[in-house]
Assembly symmetry: C2
Homo-oligomer: 259 residues x 2
DNA sequence: CGCTAGGTTGAATACGCTCAAAGATCGTGG
DNA sequence: CCACGATCTTTGAGCGTATTCAACCTAGCG
């Protein structure tokens, strides 16, 4: 019986959100159980499906278990801005708990599987398992840092810098959940998605990708991105790892959030 | 004695953060006391002062009591992106609790006064006064909505749309704390700040302001912005009020965040 | 085979940038 | 009190990055 529990526990450790938080604060078995029990109802989606629609009301938080998605918003005339690229282990709807209505839409970029749990349960978690509360707070802070860096890209970086920076960000985020190699990763996005994420036109994304290619920095084949010159790419991007907060987490993280 | 308490209570209701949250969920006297007691040590700053410096470590959360500030980040070559415009009642450092080090700098745009409290106290508040916890969660969600809308501006709106949208956002935010009239408000920012916020050059901000002026939409005199044609400006901006979440808050806000 | 979605390339254009110089405003010190 | 410097705004001219429009190419799929 105990062995079964250990087995289940180990199995759960491979789910991306748990893996992410485990990498951060070395989850205890009961904590893994809690997270695993929290979000059980799995759901599958196809590419192009709308997980969340602007204006609709939602009471549950979604966790991406596998696959990629985007959160975006449309302007009246059809212009689209991609706000977040959602990877396995990411959560959607942390804020719907307070906003009555979704402010953005979420769409699957690939076949996708999700689990979900009621937003209300969050408060109980903060109360009973403060370390997990802390980890989720870390998640939220990190997401804001990513969003800020996104704003910097779109506001103040050139096209080539934007793409280089995005690729490095995605590489690091994927590495945290063991979904990327040292210098290679899946990149299941069209250039239209890249364009709408980085505030560029499709055509210019195409041209800029060629620049990156011809500079010997990256290579794309079949939805796979290979970074041929990591240092060179970091240089072009002006990439600073720190904002992702994924290395050498301070111990105070946990202690600070205990009341 | 009771009268003194009532007096103090009423006085505190004029502090911007309390006013903001009061407008939202009708704070009870003990809740006002809690918020007032939380943040007492006041501090004054001059225009140009650095409240927060990138890379430094902070354990306290700042509340802007009066004056304007900006949060920004610099690139290696000096390019600057303004991430947030901070108004009275805004909090700085909700995330420093988990990040070991500040990711952005904060600078006073005007003479400024702040109060502060230890980040740790937050957890106690969530526990003891869940309605305040809910209100602070609302604050965080709203800030992310503002940041998202900022990203949309910079990524997908034209220069004139960006400025129009920004002015309307600031107007609504100021109205919530009784610092703006129906169509007029203080705007103590230089065009350099507007440029770095909206991802434009100073020169182009100047030209775009002229457009807005010549279209009869706004008028600026002496750090005061008057919106001459509110409907017209909203039209240019494609402005949708909802993302600010400041009208008709759902009751579920509070109930949802209770555990 | 033909359709659709996605990617690439060229040509012309535009929006916004840089550079430069000239006003305007304000605080400060002579 | 005026002059000076500093900061901010405005305007012009030329340029450049990125856009739009359009055509063509490729791959996958029914």
């Amino acid at each position: 019986m105990d062995e079964l529990r250990m087995f289940l526990n180990d199995r759960d450790r491979h789910r991306p959100l748990i893996r992410k938080l485990d990498a951060l604060i070395d989850l205890e078995p009961p904590e893994v159980d809690c997270l695993a029990g929290l979000a059980q109802t799995e759901q599958s989606w196809s590419r192009g499906d709308a997980l969340i629609e602007t204006g609709q009301s939602y009471d549950e938080i979604l966790i991406i278990e596998a696959g990629w998605a985007i959160a975006y918003k449309l302007l009246a005339d059809g212009r689209r801005q991609v706000l977040r690229i959602l990877l396995p282990g990411d959560m959607v709807g942390l804020h719907f708990a307070v906003a009555d209505v979704a402010q953005a839409s979420v769409e699957a970029l690939t076949p996708l599987s999700t689990s979900r749990f009621p937003a209300q349960n969050l408060m109980g978690i903060y109360h009973n398992l403060p370390r997990i509360g802390a980890a989720i707070a870390w998640t939220a802070a990190r997401e804001e840092a990513i969003l800020s860096e996104h704003l910097i890209s779109v506001g103040r970086r050139t096209a080539i810098e934007r793409l280089a920076h995005l690729f490095l960000e995605l590489l690091r985020r994927l590495q945290l959940i063991d979904l990327a190699g040292q210098r290679t990763m899946a990149l299941p996005v069209t250039q239209a998605v890249l364009a709408d994420a980085m505030g560029l036109s499709i055509v210019h994304v195409s041209r800029t990708m060629r620049q990156l290619r011809q500079a010997g920095l990256v290579r794309m084949t079949d939805q796979q991105l290979e970074i041929q010159d990591l240092a060179g790419l970091q240089d072009v991007a002006g990439f600073e790892e720190e904002f992702l907060m994924q290395d050498g987490l301070p111990d105070k993280l946990v202690s600070r959030l205990r009341y």
